[in-house]
Amino acid sequence: MWPRIFALALKELLAMLRDPRSRFVVIGPPIIQLLVFGYAATFDLNHVKYAVYAEDHGAAARQLLADFAGSPNFLLARNIDRETDIRELVERRDVLMVVHVGQQFSRDIALGRPAPLQLIIDGRNSNTALVALGYAQEIVNRFNADWTETHGLTGPPAVIQSRAWFNPNLESRWFFVPGLAGLIVLVVTLAVTALSIAREREHGTFDQLLVTPMTPLDILLGKSLPGVLIGIAEGTFIVLVTIFWFNVPLLGSLLAFYVGLLLFLLSAVGMGLMISSLCATLQQALLGTFLFMMPAVILSGFATPIANMPKPVQWLTLADPLRYFLVVVRDVFLEGSSFGVLFHQLWPMAVIGVVSMALASWLFRHRLY
């Protein structure tokens, strides 16, 4: 049985790697995508363009505005002196934010009244707006603490001392780059496996395969091996880049990562083969792959947390292997939990893999076109 499976797997690999276009699809985009997306996928902002509308130029105002100008998160794009300019600047997206210091600013501070600092911000991407306001709040808080101390004022009776676990500087790149391992491996494995059987069907070579001594299970295994091998190779490459290029710390064990990757590949390949066996034509197979892949990625918790979703959508994500693998990679990189904690993420992937494989092999035997 095994020699036959290996022979088929070898044929698949050769067929894929010998066609230059097909080879490029498997090797080129993942490398480019990892580098490009690794830099693109972050909620951290830097050099946010802002404008200053200062009606008061007292010492306090100057100091506060200098704090904004000195922050690496912000970039002073313009000083304006008319209120009517604000609308145009923000509407045209010339700046994301306008900092407005009112006429009474210095007097309010001198009198010990809270001096208002108005921030007008473009909310078209409300998440970006919130993140930028968070940075601004930090600057204002620091200014307040400094001002209170240097002027011998009494501070607030209670203060927050905040600390973040696992990611002390709250770099969102640490969250996204390991996650890309799941995304890219999923897309490539699906592209390799889901379309392969549909192609054989459309070319008529699938019937030829069926009259060989191979059982449907042999064919399935032979078809899934290349996907698993390519997935492991790409997963390894992504981990190396994540550690050595993006400098994300690796706290957990690589063993846990590879166990997770293997189970994830099993479930991804299983899903791909199931789609493949359900579809009669290549076009349907591609449609099916997209219909599975887009929700699998967008609802996996890669960018938006699963906890924010309504309950019925959350139940749907239980069938998404990427959901579990993302928790595993992020845990292996940032938290380094024990196998016991990860076990709850590992077994669902195994279940998805076994069930989809079994369904695929049943469909092979019972649906011959």
Binding site: G123, W147, P157, I160, R163, L183
Partner: protein
């Protein structure tokens, strides 16, 4: 003169014939109708409900080492708000374990000296620990906790009559989305991501299929010219794609209640430019790939992830490194996302719409021209 007129007339006739053939093919094999009309509705339904960045009911651990009147009033502020789902834990190790296993996303702890510090007015420490793995969420939680703290301080100062000495108070005004509903910008962005795929997939497959089945060779021996073949393919799928677009925009307006401040006509004008660009990209993929298999693979790898990650739909383009920003210029979805977010949330702002629409025109022309150049009547 006569012959020129005759050719033109013949061209129109040939085109009509091709269109008829293409429409018949679409009607008989309903999979393209499924791609153009059912897929966007399904996906937008799923994502419109599923994708949200507004964290509500964040699980939070409260640890109070020595309860007093002050600690009670502070912690009750957390149980009262919608943003948190607060649970009391008896001690810090317990709460830490809960955070390790993911039961809570943050811990607020008041040490035993909280009340004594508070009465002396010297900065009673409130210890906050957040799980930083999802950095964006962690920031959001810190922001919420900050808000609860500021509001509590204000009420305390009112009750005790002691003025609150805050030198500068930040007042924020969030334009275009004052309620900070993340759906309002995510749903228009999702339309761009979904329609990128639909457009590219519709055309990517049909051309490759003609090559693979050998029907392209049959077409070649007819008097039909290559531009006629391309236009004959483009028109029916453009109509289908715009149908899907209309459904998506309708869902955004009436199902997800995204406000539309700009003009709907302008929206559809820009949408048709975008549709041309993505159909053009699909044509290009199919012409270059030649086989359905490779065209499918390329469409999988080259359309979805770039539209998802590089379009500004969710991640801010201005914060990316310059090289990556340069790459985003070839992602058609980028221009459409910008137009959609502006038209939906801000209105007809020509300074945004015109440059982005021009970029879409350039992309559409470029893709179609290259596809035209690469597809010759030739057998390899």
């Amino acid at each position: 003169m006569n012959t020129a007129a005759a050719t033109r007339g013949g061209s129109r006739m040939r085109l009509r014939g091709l269109l008829r053939k293409e429409f018949l093919q679409i009607v008989r094999d309903p999979s393209s109708i499924a791609i153009a009309l059912i897929m966007p509705v399904l996906l937008l339904l799923l994502f419109g409900y599923g994708v949200s960045l507004d964290a509500k009911h964040v699980p939070l651990a409260l640890v109070v080492d020595q309860p007093s009147a002050e600690t009670a009033s502070f912690t009750s502020a957390f149980t009262a708000t919608d943003y948190f789902n607060a649970h009391y834990f008896s001690d810090l190790p317990d709460a830490r374990r809960a955070m390790m296993t993911g039961q809570v996303d943050g811990i607020v702890r008041l040490r035993s000296d909280f009340s004594s510090h508070f009465h002396r007015g010297d900065a009673a420490p409130i210890q906050v620990l957040v799980n930083g793995v999802n950095a964006n969420n962690a920031r959001l939680i810190e922001g919420y906790i900050n808000g609860v703290w500021a509001a509590w301080l204000a009420t305390q100062s009112q009750q005790t009559g002691q003025p609150l000495s805050i030198p500068v108070a930040m007042q924020q005004r969030i334009w275009f989305n004052s309620a900070v509903r993340s759906k309002d910008f995510l749903v228009p962005g999702l339309i761009a991501v979904i329609m990128t795929l639909i457009g590219a997939m519709l055309t990517a497959l049909v051309m490759a299929r003609e090559w693979e089945r050998g029907t392209m060779e049959a077409l070649m021996i007819t008097p039909v010219t290559m531009p006629e073949i391309l236009i004959g393919k483009l028109i029916p799928y453009f109509v289908l794609g715009m149908g899907g677009m209309a459904l998506s925009v309708g869902m955004a307006l009436w199902l997800f209640n995204v406000p539309l401040h700009g003009s709907i006509l302008l929206l559809f004008f820009c949408a048709s430019l975008f549709m041309l660009a993505s159909l053009g990209m699909g044509l290009l993929i199919s012409v270059v790939a030649r086989s359905q298999f490779v065209a499918g693979q390329v469409a999988l790898v080259a359309t979805f992830l770039p539209a998802f990650l590089l379009s500004g739909f969710i991640f801010d383009i201005d914060s990316m490194p310059h090289i990556v920003q340069a790459i985003t210029y070839v992602v058609a979805a980028r221009y459409f996302v910008s137009i959609l977010q502006t038209l939906f949330l801000a209105g007809n702002i020509w300074a945004i719409v015109i440059p982005n629409a021009l970029a879409l025109i350039v992309m559409a022309v470029l893709f179609l021209a290259v596809a035209r150049k690469r597809s010759r009547k030739r057998l390899d």
